[in-house]
C-alpha cells in the first residue's frame, strides 16, 4: 500500500463536482440566457409548458438509459411510440373498446416488442443497433398497415385526461414522467436489477461469471424500454387526440441526445437517472427558447444535431481520459 497523505488537489475537487452536476450548470446557464433573451420565457405558464412538452421524452429516456447502461441501444423506441399510438386509437375507435382495455393491450404490445428485441439480442447475439433498426422498420410498416397512413380520431372524452388533464397546476403528463423517473431511479440505485445493469454494461463476461443471468437482464431492460416507449405513445395520443403515423418519428434521436447529455455513457456502465432528467430538460428548454426567439425549424435541427455530437464527444473524451 502506498502512504495516505492529506494531499488533495483543489482542481480535482472541482472537476469531480463538475462531472457530477456539470449538466445542471449547463441547464442553469441556458435558463439564464433565455430569460434574458426573451421576455416570454421566464414565467410559470411557459415553464410548465416546457415540462409538459418534454414529459414524453423523459418517460422514454428512462428505459433508453437502461439500454445504454447495458452497452446497447434501442432504435425502435420511436416506432413503438407510433405503433402504440395507432393500435390504441384503432382499438378505441374501430373496435369500440373501452379506453382502459385499449391502453392495457397497447402497453402489453409495447412490452412484448421490447422483450422480442431483448430475446433476439441475447440469444442470437446480434448487435442491438441492427436488431432494433430492423424492428423500427417492421413496426413502422405495421402501423401504416393498420391505419393506411391515415389519422384515427374520435376518442371517448375521458381519454383526453391522460395527456391534457391537470392535478392542481401540474399537467398529468409531467406527473407520469415524474413517476417513471422516480421508478427508474429506484430500480437503478436500490434494486439488485439496477446493480446488474451496471455490472453487465461494465463487463458482461465478469458479470456472467459472478452468477448474473445476463440474458434475463437483457430481456428485462429491453422490455422496460419498449414499455416506457408505449407509455409515452399513450400520452402523445391523448394529447393530440388523434392517432398519427408520424407521432414517434425521429424520437429515438432526441432520446439518445437527452441520455448522452445526461451523462449516460454510450459504451455502457455509467449513468444516473437524475442527470438524464437534466439532459431531457436541456433539450426541452432549448427547443422552447429557440421557438420563442423565432429561430427557424431548420436551424433548430442543426442545433440539435450539434448538441448530440458535442455530448457524445464529451463522453468519448472522458472515457479516453479514464483509460
Amino acid at each position: 500500500m502506498n502512504k495516505i497523505t492529506t494531499f488533495k488537489g483543489a482542481g480535482n475537487g472541482f472537476s469531480a463536482f463538475a462531472k457530477q452536476f456539470g449538466i445542471y450548470l449547463v441547464l442553469l446557464a441556458l435558463l439564464i440566457f433565455f430569460s434574458i433573451a426573451s421576455e416570454n420565457f421566464l414565467n410559470s405558464h411557459n415553464l410548465l409548458n416546457v415540462a409538459r412538452q418534454v414529459s414524453m421524452l423523459g418517460i422514454v429516456a428512462v428505459g433508453f438509459a437502461f439500454v445504454l447502461l447495458l452497452g446497447g441501444i434501442d432504435l425502435s423506441v420511436g416506432s413503438v411510440v407510433t405503433l402504440v399510438n395507432i393500435v390504441c386509437a384503432w382499438l378505441m375507435v374501430n373496435a369500440g373498446w373501452h379506453p382502459v382495455f385499449a391502453v392495457v393491450v397497447a402497453l402489453a404490445l409495447s412490452a412484448a416488442i421490447g422483450f422480442m428485441n431483448g430475446w433476439i439480442i441475447a440469444n442470437i447475439q446480434m448487435p442491438p443497433i441492427i436488431v432494433t433498426l430492423a424492428m423500427l422498420i417492421i413496426i413502422e410498416g405495421v402501423a401504416y398497415l393498420i391505419c393506411d397512413g391515415l389519422p384515427i380520431y374520435g376518442f371517448p372524452e375521458s381519454f383526453a385526461v391522460i395527456g391534457q388533464g391537470y392535478v392542481g397546476p401540474i399537467p398529468i403528463p409531467v406527473i407520469i414522467m415524474a413517476i417513471v423517473m422516480a421508478l427508474g431511479g429506484f430500480i437503478l440505485s436500490k434494486t439488485f436489477f439496477g446493480r446488474y445493469f451496471y455490472a453487465v454494461g461494465g463487463n458482461e463476461e465478469a458479470a456472467k461469471l459472478s452468477g448474473i443471468d445476463v440474458n434475463r437482464v437483457k430481456y428485462l431492460v429491453y422490455t422496460l424500454s419498449g414499455f416506457f416507449a408505449g407509455v409515452a405513445g399513450i400520452v402523445i395520443l391523448s394529447r393530440t387526440n388523434s392517432g398519427q403515423v408520424l407521432s414517434g418519428k425521429g424520437f429515438e434521436f432526441d432520446v439518445l441526445t437527452a441520455c448522452v447529455l445526461g451523462g449516460v455513457s454510450v459504451s455502457g456502465g455509467f449513468g444516473k437517472i437524475s442527470n438524464v432528467l437534466a439532459g431531457v430538460l436541456i433539450l426541452g428548454v432549448l427547443s422552447n427558447g429557440l421557438v420563442l426567439l423565432d429561430v427557424s425549424q431548420f436551424v433548430q435541427m442543426v442545433i440539435k444535431g450539434v448538441v448530440l455530437l458535442v455530448a457524445v464527444a464529451l463522453d468519448s473524451l472522458q472515457h479516453r481520459k479514464a483509460s
Partner: protein
C-alpha cells in the same frame, strides 16, 4: 551510466506513488526492479517512458537532463518498453507489426520483401525462430512477446524496460525469453526487468533495486544477496514458510465426481475431488485445465459425460446454476473475468449474493456492508474504505476481494485458476493460508497452477492434463517436478 533518476517524487490525490526515488541504470546491465504490488514499479516505468511527468526530480539520460519526458522524447533517446499488454495487430504479419507505421517503401507501395528480410535479420541476431510472414494472431503469447521485443530493437532501443514479461509464459517459453534477454545484454542493450519470479531475477540480473511503499529500499548487486534477504527487503518483514502447513486429514467422502466429461479441448476426463482436499490440476498452457474448470462452473458447455456432486448428478448450464450448487470459480484473468473494475469493494463482494440479501428486489444495504466489512477484516483486504473502486487496488488485494465474493456464496468447492499470478509474495502466502482454512473447514479446492512449486506445495493430490486428457495422477508422496513434467508433456 545510461539513465539516472534523481529524487523523483510523484503524487496522486491521496497517495505518494514515488517518494524521493533516485536510481542509476548502468549501460549494458540487466537491472531488476522488484517490490510488492503498489510499491511504485509501474509509476517508475511510466516516468522513464514519459507516460507521466514527475512532480519533483530530474531524469538524466546519457548526460541529457530532463524534468519530464514525453513518450516521443523517451523513444527518441532510445528507451523502449515491453508492456504486459501487447500492442500488436493480430490480423497483420509479424514483419508488418514490427515495421508498423514505418514500413520500407518502393515508390508508393510497401516493400514487403525488404521488410521481411529486415525482420528476419533481427530474429537471426537473437536466435529467434519466427517466420516474418506469419500472422501475429497465429502465434502463442510467448512468440508475440518476442515480436514486441524485435519491434523495440528495430526502433533502435538502447534501453528496454520489460514489465513482468514472463508472467503469461509457459516454462519453455520463459526459458526462450531468458536466452533472448541475455543475447540483448551481450549486444549492449540495457535492460530493466520487472518480475515477481525470484528464480529468474537471480538468473538474469546484475543488480536489483527493491521498492516498497513508493520508496527505494536498496539497490544491491545480485551476486551479493540471496532470496531470503531480498524477500525481507520487499515486504519489510520476515515471511513464514512459503507454503503453510495444514493440520487436517482429507476426508474419505467424495464431493465431486467427473466421469468421461468432454467439451472444448477437454477430452474424456474423469476425476474425483474429496471433501477437505486440495486437488491440483497441472498441465501446460492449452492442456484444457481452464476449460475443464469452466465446464464444471457452467461457463462452457460439456458435450458428454456426467458430473456428480455429493452423489447427485448436476447439470450446470450457466455459472448461476453452478453457484447455486455450491461451486465457485476464481478465474485466471482477474481484470477481464474476475473483477467488476468500476464497482467498489463492497459491490464486488456482494454481487453474487445480491438476490439473497434483497427483499422485494431491494438490496439491504446494511447487510451488504456487514458482509463486505466482515471479509475485509477476516482476509485483510488493504483499502482505505469499502467504497474504494477495485480498479485502484493492487493485484493481491483485487484477488482477495474476488475470493471474498466467493466465500460470501458459501461454496463447497472453490476452483482457483492461477490464483497467485502477478501477485506479490506477501499476498501470495495470505492466499495460501486462505486455501488452507477452506479445506480445514471441510470445503474442497481445485487448484490450477502453472507454477510447479505452488501446485506441489499446496495440493494433496495432483492430476495432470495433456491435450485435454488426464495423463497422470500423483499422490503427495510422489510429487516431483520431473514426474509432473513427464505427464504434462506425455513422454
Amino acid at each position: 551510466m545510461f539513465l539516472q533518476l534523481k529524487n523523483i517524487t510523484k503524487r496522486y490525490p491521496g497517495v505518494v506513488a514515488l517518494d524521493d526515488v533516485s536510481l542509476d541504470i548502468i549501460e549494458g546491465e540487466v537491472h531488476a526492479l522488484v517490490g510488492e504490488n503498489g510499491a511504485g514499479k509501474s509509476t517508475l516505468i511510466k516516468t522513464c517512458t514519459g507516460a507521466i511527468s514527475p512532480d519533483e526530480g530530474t531524469i538524466v539520460i546519457q548526460g541529457q537532463e530532463f524534468s519530464a519526458l514525453t513518450p516521443k522524447l523517451s523513444e527518441s533517446v532510445g528507451v523502449g518498453v515491453i508492456y504486459q499488454e501487447f500492442n500488436l495487430v493480430d490480423e497483420l504479419s509479424v514483419a508488418e507489426n514490427i515495421f508498423l507505421g514505418r514500413a520500407p517503401r518502393k515508390g508508393l507501395v510497401i516493400d514487403r520483401k525488404k521488410m521481411e528480410s529486415e525482420a528476419a535479420k533481427i530474429f537471426q541476431q537473437f536466435d529467434i525462430k519466427i517466420d516474418p510472414a506469419e500472422l501475429v494472431g497465429n502465434l502463442t503469447v510467448g512468440y508475440q512477446q518476442l515480436v514486441e521485443i524485435a519491434k523495440a530493437i528495430s526502433q533502435k532501443a538502447k534501453m528496454l524496460i520489460m514489465d513482468e514479461p514472463s508472467a503469461p509464459l509457459t516454462q519453455t517459453e520463459a526459458k526462450a525469453l531468458h536466452l533472448v534477454v541475455e543475447k540483448l545484454r551481450d549486444s549492449g542493450v540495457t535492460i530493466v526487468y520487472i518480475s515477481h519470479r525470484m528464480d529468474e531475477i537471480f538468473k538474469l540480473s546484475d543488480r536489483i533495486t527493491v521498492l516498497r511503499d513508493g520508496q527505494k529500499v536498496k539497490t544491491i548487486k545480485t551476486a551479493e544477496t540471496n532470496l531470503d534477504e531480498l524477500v525481507k527487503l520487499m515486504v519489510g518483514r520476515e515471511l513464514k514458510e512459503t507454503y503453510p502447513q495444514r493440520n487436517h486429514q482429507v476426508s474419505d467422502e467424495v464431493l465431486l465426481t467427473v466421469e468421461n466429461v468432454s467439451g472444448t479441448i477437454v477430452d474424456d476426463v474423469s476425476l474425483q475431488i474429496k471433501k477437505g482436499e486440495v486437488l491440483g490440476l497441472a498441465g501446460l498452457i492449452g492442456s484444457g485445465r481452464t476449460e475443464l474448470a469452466e465446464i464444471l462452473f457452467g461457463y462452457k458447455p460439456k458435450t458428454s459425460g456426467r458430473i456428480t456432486l455429493e452423489g447427485k448428478e448436476i447439470e450446470s448450464k450457466t455459472p448461476k446454476q453452478a453457484i447455486a450448487k455450491g461451486i465457485a470459480l476464481v478465474p485466471e484473468d482477474r481484470k477481464k473475468l474476475g473483477a467488476l473494475l468500476e464497482f467498489d469493494i463492497k459491490e464486488n463482494i456482494s454481487v453474487s449474493v445480491l438476490e439473497r440479501i434483497s427483499k422485494f428486489f431491494t438490496v439491504n444495504r446494511t447487510t451488504e456492508v456487514d458482509i463486505a466489512e466482515g471479509y475485509r477484516k477476516a482476509i485483510r483486504i488493504k483499502a482505505p474504505n469499502l467504497e474504494e473502486k477495485i480498479k485502484n487496488l493492487s493485484g493481491g488485494n483485487q484477488q482477495k476481494v474476488i475470493i471474498a465474493k466467493w466465500l460470501a456464496t458459501e461454496p463447497t468447492l472453490v476452483i482457483f485458476d492461477e490464483p497467485t499470478r502477478g501477485i506479490d509474495v506477501g499476498a501470495k502466502s495470505e492466499i495460501y493460508e486462505l486455501v488452507n482454512s477452506l479445506v480445514e473447514s471441510g470445503k474442497s479446492v481445485l487448484m490450477i497452477s502453472s507454477e510447479m512449486e505452488e501446485v506441489m506445495g499446496m495440493s494433496d493430490r495432483i492430476v495432470v492434463l495433456h491435450e485435454g486428457r488426464v495423463t497422470g495422477e500423483l499422490a503427495r508422496k510422489d510429487f516431483s517436478q520431473e514426474a509432473i513434467m513427464g505427464f504434462a508433456s506425455h513422454n
